[in-house]
């Protein structure tokens, strides 16, 4: 099947996409956007989270063909190494992450949260991020990064 969609502001088209192919595999293999990571492929770890039409979605649980006509943002759409977004900068300032594998999912989940509510408290941040697993940090540095991003945006 053909899939037409908008990814990180660019119109993308792919022909002959197997109906069973996950959105995650499609983004990584067909569009070369390997910033989205697969940590469990059963919807628990959250590493593959991308934003589809404004909502955070586990791209391992969605099929590429279901993304027909949608607008998607992945980590590559947030900001490049020489032009990081305020969220990315805050995360760097706070040493939020270590190995970096869970990072794309956290950043997209946080982006969706802050678009929804630009001023969440720590409790709400923690509840929103409780569906994203990080094995390195104990989460405190990630929460600090979100709080700093909120502070900076005020």
């Amino acid at each position: 099947m053909n899939v037409e969609l908008t990814v990180n502001g660019e119109a993308r088209t792919a022909a002959d996409v197997e109906p069973r192919k996950t959105l995650a595999d499609f983004l990584r293999e067909d569009l070369g956007l390997t910033g989205t990571h697969l940590g469990c492929e059963h919807g628990v770890c959250g590493a593959c989270t991308v934003i589809v039409d404004g909502d955070p979605v586990r791209s391992c649980l969605m099929l590429a063909v279901q993304a027909q006509g949608t607008t998607i943002t992945t980590i590559e759409g947030l900001g490049a190494p020489d032009a990081m977004s305020p969220l990315q900068t805050a995360m760097r300032d706070c040493h939020a992450f270590q190995c970096g594998f869970c990072t794309p999912g956290f950043l997209m989940q946080i982006t969706a949260l802050l678009e929804d509510d630009p001023n969440p408290g720590e409790r709400e941040i923690r509840e929103t991020l409780s569906g994203n697993l990080c094995r390195c940090t104990g989460y405190e540095s990630i929460v600090n990064g979100v709080l700093q991003a909120i502070e900076v945006s005020r």
């Binding site: 190995c99 094995r135 940090t137």
Partner: protein
């Protein structure tokens, strides 16, 4: 936080000691990192493994026909076929220890664990490869599973390796230190406990994986891997495939965590490399989470029967410990664990005597692998026993620790197992903790809460960590860390380290040290990792990098700086003593106008005839670092919990860490290591278990809905305090901090839970305390 805002600070201390932002984050935060699954090569094929669904059985038949006929499938191999792709001299992979056993890369005669690889499909996509797995027919004759250590110890159990004849592969071996009889005879009392550390596992967020790329034109193998040391992977693959080592190159990019798991090269990685060589095409294998949880490797699963002899004054005299480790189906590091646990069992305590007995068994479960402080059950055992002593005597556990752990100033001497305790600051950390946590005030609050039917508990635990450990009398024992360092004609100092970071931030921390010592901005230092053609042999693990690689970076930068100044002295016609390196340039001291860029010095030095005859113009150094005097890391953790007696849930109200890893290179990196370790320990106690059915040996924790990791809502903020008390060396006083958080946090949390449950008379003997178990312990549910 950046140091450029503090120009008044002396140049030599600009970066070390500061929470310098990580260079790794530029790629990690932007999705531009390169993990093994991100590698896509032209014509790349995909491998998937068929795995045993049963714990123990004999393979009586295997039919690959239908799988081979599926369109898109390139090749299918069973165990016998795979043997034909390996070097004739290849030994069973990944095995070390006292009991070498015979098995094949893919199972040929027997399967010994759920998840054992039986066959492999290579196809044009992973989807097709997995389709083909379903077309492979395997017939098994079930063998009686050996699903617990107790079953393995039973002489009637079916030997998993018939050539060994027994499932007990090490011991029982007993060693004594000091006069055990006398210590126990002098004691007023003895407490006993049968302590159990459950099976749990590393669970990095990135599973294992490899891309193997055989080049038939020059018979060379390039591996894109996810390993803690590229040199180790190169040696293993060379031996297994029969390819000369110089024709194997191992590359690792970003690695999504490991915690000890990825030190070795897995059977699937070897098979994937063999397939690439056989097919002449790149082949990728990426482990999925179910494969990972079942088969990548598990840790711990140890029992420790302990007796502790002590006086009525709370002086602990001696310990007797009998330990059994369940190493799973394929013996490796677990078989050698005993000596590590034994050596560390006394910790910082002034014990008179220790008797230690060790046994290792094989069972039909996943292989034992190293996990963040593999020896950590010594801390769990000792710190549980100390709390039991305190309870027996009606003393505050803090007070019992005070009576048995010496201050540095008191000449702490040696552990009863031998090592010097010089630089071990456990007592100092304990006193700092006593300042931070008002135990007396807590007891009042605890009593008031109990009167309301609420159960608060406070737990402490103390540890030391050989990171790298003290140098033994007469030298030796810390190993050697290799490093090369070079000034290139682009003006960049390149550090070629044997470390293979997977979250530890070495590309930042080693650059901090080298930049300070050499005298350049950090942007002019590049830390090169993960290429066996470029970096020296070594690995990341054992919390050794801070001292060993940090020391190597410091001394190589110092050597390189001198070498550059010596060369510059000829080019600039000034004495080397009158020159300095400032901000990427060499200048005559006090004469900024004389400055010449490092790039131009490096370029000029390479020109023939630029230097007098006999002057070495190669701006490269390679000095091994031996760890100097070494030294201990260590500290004390304390947590306060509330246990809900209706739900069995444990809420951690406060968690405080006092730790000493010597001089901090990058405080934010240190705090991250500490917090991450504590989070894993909290997970181990409250959530995680690699469960097997004790009758069938079936694996029961194959998804993240069964194997529960701690999340943002379980891990509290962790207050971290640092001691930097005992400088041993004029230059290198950085010590490792990777494992301590995970070593001591399980005992800390368990001690707090037992304290909370004191009104129920609960004695905590196991480390795994999920809600159901807590309800059993307090009698709300039947055991």
């Amino acid at each position: 936080m950046t140091t450029t805002e503090q120009p008044a600070q002396p140049l030599a201390q600009r970066f070390v000691g500061e929470s310098v932002k990580r260079s790794e984050d530029l790629r990690i935060l932007t999705g531009t990192g390169s993990y093994v699954d991100d590698v896509q090569l032209p014509g790349m094929l995909h491998a998937a493994f068929l795995r045993s669904p049963i714990a123990h059985g004999r393979i009586t038949g295997i039919d690959l026909t239908a799988a081979r006929q599926l369109p898109g499938v390139v090749a299918v191999y069973d165990g016998a076929g795979m043997q034909g792709l390996l070097a004739e001299t290849a030994k069973a992979p990944g095995i070390f220890g006292p009991a070498p056993v015979d098995f094949t890369l893919l199972a040929t005669d027997k399967v010994r664990v759920v998840g054992d690889p039986v066959a492999v499909v290579v196809a044009e996509s992973r989807y097709v490869a997995e389709d083909a797995l379903e077309l492979i027919e395997v017939d098994y004759d079930d063998l009686p599973p050996v699903a617990t250590a107790a079953q393995a110890i039973d002489p009637e159990s079916t030997p998993i390796f018939t050539d060994l004849g027994s499932n007990v592969i090490t011991g029982p071996d007993t060693n004594t230190h000091g006069d055990v009889e006398a210590a126990f005879a002098r004691a007023d009392r003895v407490v006993r406990a049968n302590l159990k550390v459950h099976r749990h596992q590393n669970v990095p967020m990135e599973c294992r994986g490899v891309v193997a790329d055989w080049d038939p034109s020059n018979e060379s193998l390039t591996i894109h891997g996810s390993n803690q040391g590229v040199g180790i992977a190169k040696m293993v693959l060379s031996g297994q495939l029969g390819v000369p080592a110089h024709q194997v190159r191992v590359l690792c990019g970003d690695i999504g965590g490991s915690f000890g798991l990825k030190i070795g090269t897995g059977r699937e990685e070897i098979a994937t490399a063999a397939l690439s060589k056989a097919l002449g095409k790149p082949v990728k294998w990426i482990e999925d989470r179910n494969e990972h949880l079942a088969f990548s490797g598990h840790a711990r699963e140890e029992t420790l029967d302990a007796e502790c002899a002590f006086t009525n004054d709370g002086e602990i005299l001696g310990l007797k410990v009998s330990m059994v480790v369940d190493t799973g189906a394929y013996p490796g590091m677990g078989a050698m664990l005993g000596r590590m646990v034994e050596g560390m069992m006394p910790g910082p305590y002034s014990l008179e005597a220790l008797e230690f007995t060790f046994r290792a068994v094989v069972t039909n479960k996943a292989q034992y692998v190293a996990y963040r402080g593999p020896w950590a059950s010594e801390t769990f055992c000792r710190e549980r026993m100390v709390d039991l002593v305190a309870r027996e005597l009606g003393l505050e556990p803090l007070e019992v620790r005070r009576r048995n752990i010496p201050f540095q100033g008191e000449n702490p001497g040696n552990m009863i197992t031998g090592r010097s305790l010089t630089s071990a600051t456990a007592r100092e950390s304990l006193e700092k903790m006593a300042e931070l946590v008002d135990v007396g005030a807590f007891r009042e609050r605890q009593a008031a809460a109990r009167a309301e039917g609420r159960y608060l508990g406070l737990g402490m635990a103390t540890y030391i960590e050989a990171a790298p450990g003290p140098r033994a009398e007469g030298g030796g024992g810390l190993g050697s860390e290799q490093m090369r360092m070079r000034l290139d004609d682009d003006g960049v100092v390149r550090v070629f380290t044997a470390q293979m970071p997977h979250g530890q931030s070495h590309q930042t921390t080693l650059a901090q040290i080298a930049a300070d010592e050499f005298g350049v901005p950090m942007e002019l230092v590049e830390v090169v990792v993960g290429d066996s053609d470029q970096v020296p042999f070594g690995f990341t693990g054992g919390s050794r990098s801070a001292t060993m690689a940090g020391g190597a970076a410091l001394h190589n930068a110092r050597d390189l700086r001198q070498k550059v100044l010596d060369v510059a002295s000829h080019l600039m016609e000034a004495s080397a003593d009158d020159l300095e390196i400032v901000e990427g340039s060499v200048a005559v001291k006090g004469v900024p106008v004389s400055a010449r860029s490092l790039a131009s010095i490096a370029a000029a030095a390479a020109v023939e005839g630029a230097l007098p005859e006999g002057v070495d113009g190669t701006l490269e150094v390679a000095r091994n670092y031996d760890g100097g005097k070494g030294g201990w890391s260590g500290g004390t953790h304390c947590c306060i919990v509330e246990v809900d007696a209706e739900t069995g849930l444990v809420d951690i109200e406060r968690y405080v860490v006092v730790e000493d890893c010597g001089k901090l290179i990058n405080p934010a990196v240190v705090d991250g290591q500490v917090r991450g370790g504590v989070a894993q320990g909290i997970g181990a106690v409250l959530l995680e278990r690699s469960a097997y059915d004790p009758e069938t040996g079936q694996f029961l924790a194959g998804t993240f809905l069964d194997y529960l990791l701690p999340t943002t809502t379980e891990v509290p903020r962790i207050e971290t305090h640092h001691l930097e008390t005992v400088p041993l060396d004029p230059d290198v006083n950085f010590r490792g901090v990777g494992e301590g958080g995970m070593v001591v946090s399980p005992a800390t949390v368990c001690n707090a839970i037992e304290d909370a449950l004191a009104p129920f008379g609960v004695k905590v003997e196991e480390q795994h305390l999920p809600p159901l178990r807590i309800l059993e312990l307090i009698g709300a549910l039947e055991d």
